[in-house]
């Protein structure tokens, strides 16, 4: 036994939907004494005490004094906090797992859209609860930069429970792990709970990807997991940019590559600006490297959450450079990003014309597609199909647009 007192979680005047638990193990007598201070005590006092007793019993703790300072934490949060406190005091491989929601058992695909992916700090339960409601393409529980060093362990347990208990409503289920050894250990806490994609930060070499992938396959074998875990390296340094194509090709599971401009500009020793001239080379290089490897290039987050117009301009620039998505640090950014990457009216109109021409050519057995007097190359047709797909998925076009047109013609 290391010591006999531990604390986990957060409390304070601004903290909501969380709790801070102090646990003191007591030798061999006295039983369990729980002191609960909670704003929801009249409504959930008994259930919080029962849950705490159940967890202590699960870990074989018979004598302890527990202090719970609760600001309306959901059960999976309370459970994570207590487990984190316990694990500071006793070595155990046991995990007190809340129920996995059926809604969360879905897989992802290589080429799904990744326009917006919302970062959720890994130790902030209040931000997790409604994460699934904002229609982000992906949700990233972040164990890296948004978690303070002394909170890394408890965040893993919280994120694990969140992955099981929060309905992410079809968003791609992502976790950003830490760098190095700590990141490899993070994987053990999250991979068994249906992760669709792992973000690998500060990526500078294919070796990093390989190590993460090996660790994941150890875990998937151990737990007999079926779903594929995709990878998204984040390029955040000059060296990473130089090697981005190699990194993009390092595994068939690398489906997208993101650029992190805060660290990249720091590495270059230049300030990050809104118009981003200093990162123009890195961004285009990243786009080219990704496209060459056949994966999606994803742009950095826009950090001024109050400046929606700035974000809008940034997204349009991003799209023009060839990026296929962007990170979000606030749910309000999601719609702006989605709209920015969405095809505009002219693009949709042209794509429709091309697809119709293609189908008519197919029907009449023609090998060549023509629009008016102009020949259309196969890649242009493919791109038009992609635009149509996108428009349908974004609700800009009804799924049956084609039949409607034919009906009108008839």
């Amino acid at each position: 036994m290391k010591t006999n007192m531990a604390a986990a979680g957060n409390s304070g005047p601004k903290v909501r939907s969380d709790c801070e638990i102090t646990l003191e193990l007591k030798g061999s007598r006295g039983g369990v004494i729980i002191d609960l201070n909670s704003k929801v005590k009249p409504l959930y006092g008994k259930s919080i005490i029962n849950l705490s007793n159940e967890i202590l019993e699960f870990f074989g703790i018979k004598n302890a004094s527990v202090n719970i300072n609760d600001t309306g934490a959901l059960p999976f949060v309370i459970a994570a906090r207590l487990e984190a406190a316990i694990k500071q005091l006793i070595d155990t491989d046991l995990e007190f797992l809340p129920v996995m929601l059926k809604e969360n058992e879905y897989s992802s695909t290589v080429d799904r859209f990744r326009f917006s992916r919302l970062y959720i700090p890994g130790n902030a339960p209040g931000m997790m609860i409604n994460a699934g409601l904002h229609s982000a393409d992906g949700i990233i529980f972040d164990l890296e930069d948004s978690v303070a060093p002394e909170k890394k362990e408890e965040a893993r347990i919280l994120v694990r429970n969140a992955l099981r208990q929060i309905d992410l409503r079809g968003a791609e289920r992502m976790v950003r792990i830490n760098q190095g050894e700590r990141g490899l250990k993070d994987l053990h806490f999250v991979i068994p709970h249906n992760i669709n994609l792992i973000l690998v930060p500060k990526c500078e070499s294919p070796v990093q990807i390989k190590r993460v992938e090996d660790e994941i396959s150890v875990i998937t074998k151990k737990f007999k997991l079926k779903n594929i875990v995709f990878l998204m390296p984040i390029i955040e340094s000059a060296l990473g940019v130089e090697r981005c194509f190699e990194i993009a090709c390092s595994s068939k599971n690398v489906v997208a590559m993101a650029i992190g401009l805060e660290d990249y500009t720091a590495d270059l020793g230049v300030p990050r600006t809104t118009d981003g001239k200093e990162s123009f080379y890195a961004r285009t290089r990243m786009v080219v490297g990704s496209k060459a490897a056949g994966i999606q290039p994803i742009d950095s987050v826009f950090s001024d959450v109050g400046d929606m117009e700035g974000l809008r301009q940034n997204v349009l620039m991003s799209k023009a450079l060839g990026f296929e998505g962007m990170g979000c640090i606030h749910p309000r950014q999601i719609q702006v990003i989605r709209q920015g990457f969405a095809p505009d009216d002219t693009e949709v109109k042209r794509a429709k014309e091309i697809v119709i021409a293609f189908e008519e050519a197919k029907k009449s057995g023609l090998g060549v597609v023509a629009l008016g007097s102009k020949m259309i190359d196969p890649p242009v047709v493919a791109k038009a199909h992609k635009t149509i797909d996108l428009a349908v998925r974004l609700g800009l076009l009804s799924a049956g647009w084609n039949e409607e047109i034919h009906d009108n013609k008839n």
């Binding site: 929801v40 409504l43 959930y44 259930s47 600001t71 309306g72 959901l74 409601l133």
Partner: protein, 519 residues
């Protein structure tokens, strides 16, 4: 001393007597129609007042003495100075120093600054409060520490109680940002401007004695007068009636919470897709962060469609003023101004019109403004499976809020409650509301971040959004969704003692609040 109780038409157990006076149990919406005449105050004679019209006396204490302040009297005050009010507390400081006991305080609302009167509730200067009690005062009542039983009424219910003679005001003390020596007064001008004095009308018309307190005495006539000097007995000039930055917020802000914004967006979308929002629409929304965001979203839709709202009913804010100024709203009829932009607009824009609750919410009026409103955005602490609403207590049983105009506003054409499905683990949709404030038949739509529930009585609305892609669910589905996330809460525990009565807009007792059981 058990008081006889009955089950009222809403199924709630209520007493037949409160504070020693008989009361009528709730009979159903629109069922109670009293006969006879309205209460009338004593008849004055103009010869008893100064010919030169100068009613200024030296101090509030002198005015109270001249009004004959004594034990057991009912004193009314108003909340248009909100948390910056320096007048209402002073009245009770003076009453205490004069040794007066057992007063009834009849405010239009109380604010955190009024915690000050707890000492007078404890020492017997005040017997009880008949009005809204927030925060500390509410808790004081819930813990059963107030001598008399609290009576909570809506803004319109206050007017009804005055006109029915159910509450006879002995002295009304009206704080006024500007007044003349005759007692004409208004809400603008001076350093304590609040814009509108929308709650004072019934009080100055029906009180036995009326005192106007101002820190900005101007030459006769104080125009446009919201309080007419012909009803006023005395005018008192003080240094300061209020603390300006606490009277109106410098600027009201729309919510920054992504979850609340999502609810606001969904609400705007519902109003658009259901066809409730249309050219010529009439609307009212509060000053809460979510309501303001809804106003902003609705403004955008009106602008894009080239539509115009005929009029909006305040509380007004800069967002409503913006609609007025940019041409998406014809008029603002206003009972209170929440921020500096709104105060300025009342003063300068002829289409921004003070409109007292006496005319908007009054049960004994020949028609009301609320029933003419197309869109009514309201809040609630709880809603139950029958769409009944609670605005006064929390699920833990504590009294923490007043009714405000909420009950009156339920009479609008479309009553929409945008609410988070749970607040810090506490579900908003419950089996049965802890305290019934508004019958479910008047509440039409609940909009949460996880779905929209439409009252089954509103078949038209259900039909209007079919196939719209909006996440329409039953209220039971929403409740179950919340409980799946939060767990099923236990019920609050109460003692037998009744600590507060909730009046319906017609003066009948719709529910009571009992003393909280300390666990």
């Amino acid at each position: 001393m058990a008081i006889k109780t009955v089950i009222n038409a809403a199924g709630r157990q209520v007493p037949l007597e409160i504070n020693g006076k008989p009361v009528i149990p709730f009979k159903g919406v629109g069922k109670h129609r009293p006969e006879g005449g309205k209460y009338s105050p004593p008849i004055p004679t103009c010869y008893d007042y100064p010919d030169d019209g100068n009613k200024v006396v030296n101090s509030l204490e002198e005015a109270l003495r001249k009004c004959g302040l004594c034990d057991g009297m009912t004193i009314s005050t108003h909340h248009h100075l909100r948390d910056g009010d320096l007048v209402s507390n002073t009245v009770f400081d003076l009453a205490y120093s004069m040794g007066v006991k057992d007063l009834v305080w009849f405010p239009s609302a109380s604010f955190p600054c009024n915690e000050h009167v707890i000492r007078y509730l404890e020492d017997g200067t005040i017997n009880r409060i008949e009005g809204s009690m927030n925060g500390a005062l509410g808790r004081f009542v819930s813990e059963g520490r107030m001598k008399g039983t609290a009576v909570l009424r809506s803004h319109g219910g206050r007017v009804q109680a005055i006109q029915d003679g159910e509450v006879i005001i002995d002295i009304a003390v009206l704080a006024a940002p500007s007044a003349d020596a005759f007692g004409n007064a208004k809400g603008t001008g001076g350093t304590s401007a609040c814009g509108v004095l929308g709650y004072t009308k019934a009080d100055y018309m029906y009180a036995k004695k009326v005192i106007v307190v101002t820190d900005n005495l101007i030459d006769m006539p104080c125009f446009p007068m919201e309080i007419e000097g012909n009803y006023v007995d005395y005018v008192v000039v003080v240094d300061k009636i209020g603390i300006p930055e606490k009277i109106v917020s410098g600027t009201t802000q729309i919510t920054k919470s992504p979850d609340r914004l999502l609810i606001a967006e969904l609400t705007a979308s519902f109003l658009e897709k259901s066809g409730i929002l249309k050219d010529g629409v009439t609307m009212q929304a509060g000053a809460g962060g979510t309501s303001l965001a809804i106003a902003v979203f609705l403004h955008e839709i009106l602008k894009n469609k080239g539509w115009k709202s005929k009029f909006g009913f305040g509380g007004s804010t800069k967002y409503m003023v913006k609609m007025l100024e940019e041409g998406q709203m014809g008029y603002i009829l206003d009972a209170q101004a929440f921020d500096l932009d709104a105060v300025k607009s009342v003063e300068l824009n002829p289409n921004h019109i003070p409109y007292p609750v006496f005319n908007a919410y009054n049960y004994h009026s020949k028609g009301n403004l609320t029933s003419m409103m197309d869109i009514m955005i309201l809040g609630a602490t709880e809603v139950d499976l029958n769409f009944n609403g609670n605005v006064v207590t929390h699920s833990d049983g504590n009294l923490l809020h007043g009714i405000g105009g909420w009950q009156n506003c339920l009479h609008a054409r479309n009553v929409i409650l945008p609410l988070p499905l749970f607040r810090d683990r506490i579900p908003v949709i419950v089996d049965d509301v802890t305290t019934l404030c508004g019958p479910g038949e008047l509440i039409d739509v609940i909009i949460t971040e996880r779905g929209i529930a439409i009252n089954p009585l509103r078949k038209d609305l259900i039909k209007s959004v079919k196939g719209s892609g909006l996440p329409v669910k039953t209220i039971l589905e929403l409740k179950e969704e919340a409980e799946k996330i939060c767990g099923k809460p236990e019920k609050a525990q109460f003692e037998e003692d009744i600590v507060a009565a909730i009046k319906w807009v017609d003066g009948t007792v719709i529910d009571v609040i009992r003393k909280i059981k300390i666990q």
